[in-house]
């Protein structure tokens, strides 16, 4: 606006006023300068300097242009404002583009680098506990046997003599019943003392007493025999025993199940070998060897359930037959994990437990 002209009406073809012309050229050169400065900014701090110079909210050069804009006449102001807004949008867009350009230059593999840290510092690791290696071994045996339809069962550890001996065809005169070879309880049930079970076969008797064939079970748990503790013996240990009772069961089924077990447990096609042995509750009875690292390793005992045992639980030995096998958990766990002294399993040293 020009006070001197006194003109109040804008003329369409009116010549551009000097003031406006000066404003427009000033805006143009500001634009050019901003373009140059922004283009020249090669990192964040140069760009920030440019932003403050041109777009700074308090003393930026665009802010200064608003002073000039307000000094234009009412006639000139729309044209000036338009030019100003275009310049501002241009510079803002240039700035955004430059910011992206610089950020892109600082990324690796497309990811923005924020605050870089020492990635080799220790993480805040959550402590996870460990399942005991014997439990892991038991679960592994259970898991493999369950694929063949064997159900895990549990029974009492304090037993009567019927289940621990008589039903298993271990007669009153059998040396296995010697007081020095068992943990008898001081309390009597009738006249016969109870005892800590010396084998998990007791559970098989209990299951057979309650259920009819077909049966496929694995009984497992703690058993107790008075052995002096040393590297290979402990007076308390764990047994896993399998039992299958079905019509038409043969030793070929027994060997095939153990072959399946050994191959699953040890991996690969593991050969199984039977050697004749003697257990009161199986007949024929065998020792089971499995080939491990080129050597035959004794894994446990097995056999066809003795007809006398089938009769003692009320089964007809001519109608059904079955097999049983037993594995020492400590023995296979020690072998599997390279534990030389089975007492280590009961030391409960956390440094030991955390290795499994």
């Amino acid at each position: 606006m020009s006070a001197e002209t006194g003109s109040t009406e804008p003329s369409e073809n009116a010549a551009v006023s000097d003031l406006l012309a000066s404003f427009l050229s000033e805006t143009d050169s500001l634009c050019t300068a901003a373009k140059t400065a922004i283009a020249a900014a090669s990192d964040g701090s140069m760009l920030e300097k440019a932003r403050i110079e041109f777009l700074g909210a308090r003393s930026g050069r665009l802010k200064a242009m608003t002073q000039l804009l307000s000094g234009l006449t009412a006639v000139d102001r729309p044209a000036g404002g338009k030019q100003f807004n275009e310049a501002k949008a241009t510079i803002t867009a240039l700035f955004s583009a430059a910011r992206e350009r610089i950020a892109a230059a600082q990324t690796k593999d497309g990811l923005a680098v924020v605050d870089a840290i020492d990635v080799t510092l220790p993480g805040e690791r959550v402590r996870i506990g460990h399942v005991h290696p014997l439990t892991q071994t038991i679960r592994r045996v259970q898991e493999i046997m369950s694929r063949l339809g064997f159900e895990s069962v549990d029974g009492p550890e304090v037993e009567d003599q019927w289940h621990n001996f008589e039903a298993l065809a271990i007669g009153a005169e059998h040396p296995a019943r010697d007081p020095l070879d068992n943990f008898y309880l001081a309390v009597a049930q009738g006249t016969e003392p109870l005892l800590l079970r010396s084998q998990t076969s007791t559970v098989q008797i209990r299951v057979m007493e309650k259920r009819r064939p077909p049966l496929r079970i694995v009984s497992l748990g703690r058993v107790y025999r008075p052995d002096t503790a040393d590297a290979t013996h402990y007076p308390m240990f764990h047994q896993v025993e399998g039992l299958l009772i079905e019509p038409g069961t043969t030793m070929a089924h027994l060997k095939s199940v153990l072959h399946f077990f050994a191959s699953s447990f040890l991996g690969g096609d593991v050969r199984v070998r039977f050697r004749p042995s003697f257990f009161p509750f199986t007949e024929p009875s065998v020792e089971v060897d499995m080939e491990w690292d080129g050597r035959w390793i004794e894994m446990g005992g097995a056999g066809m359930v003795d007809p006398a045992v089938l009769e003692s639980v009320g089964y007809d030995p001519d109608a059904v037959s079955g097999f049983a096998f037993g594995l020492g958990v400590e023995r296979i766990a020690a072998r599997r994990y390279g534990v030389a002294d089975i007492r280590d399993f009961y030391r409960n040293d956390v440094r030991f437990l955390e290795q499994f």
């Binding site: 402590r127 506990g129 439990t135 259970q142």
Partner: protein, 697 residues
């Protein structure tokens, strides 16, 4: 049992290497222990199972080898020359108790020269690890190792009037054995005695009084059957096991009694001279009635799953000494040899056949039909519980079920009956069946911290053992088989945290097993709540019992939790602060059988409200929570305790502020502010009525 290959060659010509022999014996039931050269001989040590006393002599092993290698077996038939004199006039034999000694026989040889044995005899004994003593003793040992029947030679002159009595030992009776040690006997044992006293501990060891020595001229040669139980009572009770007792415990061949007597007499005459009086003086009866056993033709295949030709079956049984008693369309009949009293049933014959034929023939690829199987509630519970604690950073421990007195004096949360006691002790001093796992875990924790483990946070899942305790019986499930003893399945844990840590771990397990706090929904079937508890194990005021509440029944204790009391910590190696919990998993197993059903989730917006309730400082959180839930209705989704604080100036004396954060949400629509407000008002009113709470602005 050690066998000499030179000796074995007396009965069977094998013409195989010792290693090959050992391997075949191994695969037919005589486990191989070791093989070693002894001079020009080879000693093979084998393990003989308790059912095979026949293989405790060289002839028995030779018989096995002969069958395995299809070679003929030849055994001596000794016929010692009887001279003048009648043994029955020199000695008498009487058995007082035939349950201890079914049969006794004695021969008399006069005028022997007791000297050293010939070299071949000394060599053979040396191969099998027996030192030569003199010609008489060596011969009795030799014959025992030949046929498995023990013998004993007495110096006849030392036997008063030549009168032998086999009787039960008197309790406290004193006996000096040939090892010059004196033993005090019990009435479970059997002695061979004269009028003066015991001459020998029957079947175990001879006495020093009647020992054969250079002075001996006349001998009494004993060959008898002694009962396994009496022999075992003496051998074990006096820790006096011998080669003789080992064999009598397993029961030698009854037919070998006479053979061994003849064999030893003949060898003595040959090697020590002297004259054998005629006849054998005997007492008792020799029971020797081998069983006749029928073998169905299809039985071998039905048991083994393989076919073995009938001719081969016969060949094996005949070779082992079985006698054929005929055959028909269904079965063949066999009479067992006297030395195989372990064979009395058809299944025993099947085992004999496959044992010799070899298990290698049994296939290992027989198909087996699939069957469905599911984990039991017990197994599911074990896994859920241990997974929860492993996730929380605890390690699973395994400690002994039988503990010592010091551990057991810590009382059990599960009953007041005294601990059950076992004999012998599991390890030195440990003869009490534990009633709680906590002391064992505290001990384990002490042990692992002492060696510098990174932490001692442990848990264990195992049974405890409780004598019948009526106070405890009505508390629900018991895994008792006899009614006398319960074996609760316990889960115990120890942690370095405080009460709240142990409680949180217990709640994590309970949550994993599917249990919620009772106050959340008292109308539901079950839930747990914590109640203050006094127990010596825990610091006063820092312990709780966990109760399982079931709608319509009495709450039962399913756990305890607390900070371990200082005196208990002192007992376990002055441990730093430790808290513990123990849960009765046997009372929680049922929950593993409850099918999980989806609770539908609401996507409508929730409204949160915090309430600052001021209550008396003695009001427990459980009462406040119960008041909130009682009034909340279906809209309350979560009630969370934010903060508890006390400030006399701002709240007044005896007051505390309890800040709770509530989240309300409707399942059916967007909750209006008014609806939310009504619920909040009801909650505030209930808290006012039930626990005297006022709302702090």
């Amino acid at each position: 049992m050690i066998i000499s290959t030179n000796w074995l060659a007396d009965y069977v010509q094998l013409q195989v290497l010792p290693a090959s022999l050992a391997d075949r014996l191994l695969m037919s039931g005589l486990n191989h222990e070791s093989t070693r050269a002894v001079g020009a001989d080879t000693a093979i040590e084998i393990e003989v199972t308790s059912n095979r006393p026949d293989c405790l002599g060289h002839i028995g092993v030779a018989r096995e080898a002969a069958v395995l290698f299809s070679r003929p077996l030849s055994t001596p038939d000794p016929r010692p020359l009887e001279g003048k004199g009648d043994a029955a006039r020199s000695i008498t034999v009487e058995i007082h108790d035939q349950t201890l000694c079914p049969f006794y026989s004695a021969r008399v040889i006069r005028g022997v020269r007791v000297g050293s044995s010939p070299q071949w005899l000394v060599d053979r004994l040396r191969t099998v690890g027996i030192e030569s003593i003199n010609s008489i003793v060596d011969i009795t040992n030799y014959v025992m190792l030949e046929c498995g029947q023990p013998l004993h030679a007495f110096d006849l002159q030392t036997i008063q009037n030549g009168c032998i009595t086999v009787r039960r030992a008197l309790a406290g009776e004193v006996f000096t054995a040939i090892n010059h040690k004196t033993y005090s006997l019990t009435d479970k044992m059997c002695v061979v005695a004269d009028a003066v006293g015991p001459l020998a501990l029957a079947g175990v060891m001879g006495g020093v009084r009647s020992e054969i020595g250079p002075q001996t001229v006349d001998i009494l040669l004993e060959c008898a059957q002694f009962a396994p139980l009496a022999v075992r009572a003496a051998a074990r009770g006096l820790v006096l096991a011998s080669a003789s007792s080992y064999r009598f415990e397993r029961g030698p061949d009854p037919a070998a009694v006479d053979w061994a007597s003849r064999r030893a007499a003949a060898m003595i005459l040959d090697n020590a001279g002297g004259m054998l009086e005629s006849g054998t003086v005997t007492a008792g009866t020799l029971v020797c009635a081998p069983a006749s056993v029928d073998l169905r033709h299809d039985r071998v295949a039905n048991v083994l799953g393989i076919n073995i030709q009938a001719a081969r079956q016969q060949e094996i049984l005949l070779g082992l000494g079985f006698e054929s008693e005929g055959s028909d369309a269904v079965c063949s009949r066999w009479k067992a040899p006297t030395w195989r009293r372990d064979v009395s049933r058809e299944i025993d014959l099947v085992e004999e056949i496959v044992r010799i034929e070899g298990y290698d023939r049994v296939p290992e690829d027989e198909p087996i039909a699939a069957r469905p199987v599911e984990l039991s509630l017990h197994e599911k519970t074990l896994r859920l519980a241990s997974d929860a604690l492993v996730g929380a950073g605890l390690c699973e421990a395994m400690t002994r079920s039988v503990v010592n007195d010091a551990l057991e004096t810590t009382c059990s949360p599960w009953g007041s009956a005294l601990p059950l006691v076992v004999s012998p002790a599991l390890v030195r001093g440990a003869d009490r069946l534990r009633r709680t796992l906590l002391p064992s875990l505290l001990e384990a924790r002490m042990g692992t911290l002492a060696v510098g483990a990174p932490h001692g946070d442990l848990f264990e899942i195992a049974r405890a053992y409780l004598a019948d305790d009526t106070a405890n019986k009505d508390q629900g499930t018991a895994s008792s088989r006899s009614g006398l003893i319960q074996e609760p399945l316990l889960l115990s844990l120890v942690t370095s945290g405080n009460f709240s840590t142990a409680k949180g771990l217990a709640e994590a397990v309970l949550g994993r097993l599917g249990f919620d706090p009772w106050e959340i929904n008292p109308a539901s079937n079950t839930g747990y709540e914590f109640r203050p508890l006094q127990l010596d194990l825990f610091s006063p005021g820092r312990a709780a019992e966990i109760m399982l509440c079931t709608a319509g029944s009495t709450a039962i204790r399913i756990g305890v939790v607390g900070e371990i009391a200082q005196p208990i910590r002192d007992r376990f190696g002055s441990q730093p602060a430790v808290s513990a919990a123990e849960l009765r998993l046997d009372r929680l197993e049922f929950a593993a059988g409850i099918e999980k059903k989806l609770q539908s989730l609401s996507d409508f917006p929730a409204i949160g409200r915090d309430l600052n309730l001021v209550v008396g400082e003695a009001v427990p959180w459980a009462s406040i929570a119960a008041a909130i839930y009682s009034a909340a209705g279906k809209l309350l989704e979560e009630c969370r305790l934010v903060q508890v604080w006390q400030d006399v100036e701002r709240l007044g004396a005896g007051k505390k502020s309890v800040v709770v954060s509530l989240r309300l949400r409707s399942a059916t629509g967007t909750l209006s502010g008014d609806d939310a407000m009504r619920t909040i008002d009801a909650i505030v009113a209930a808290c006012g009525q039930q626990v005297g709470a006022t709302l702090r602005a």
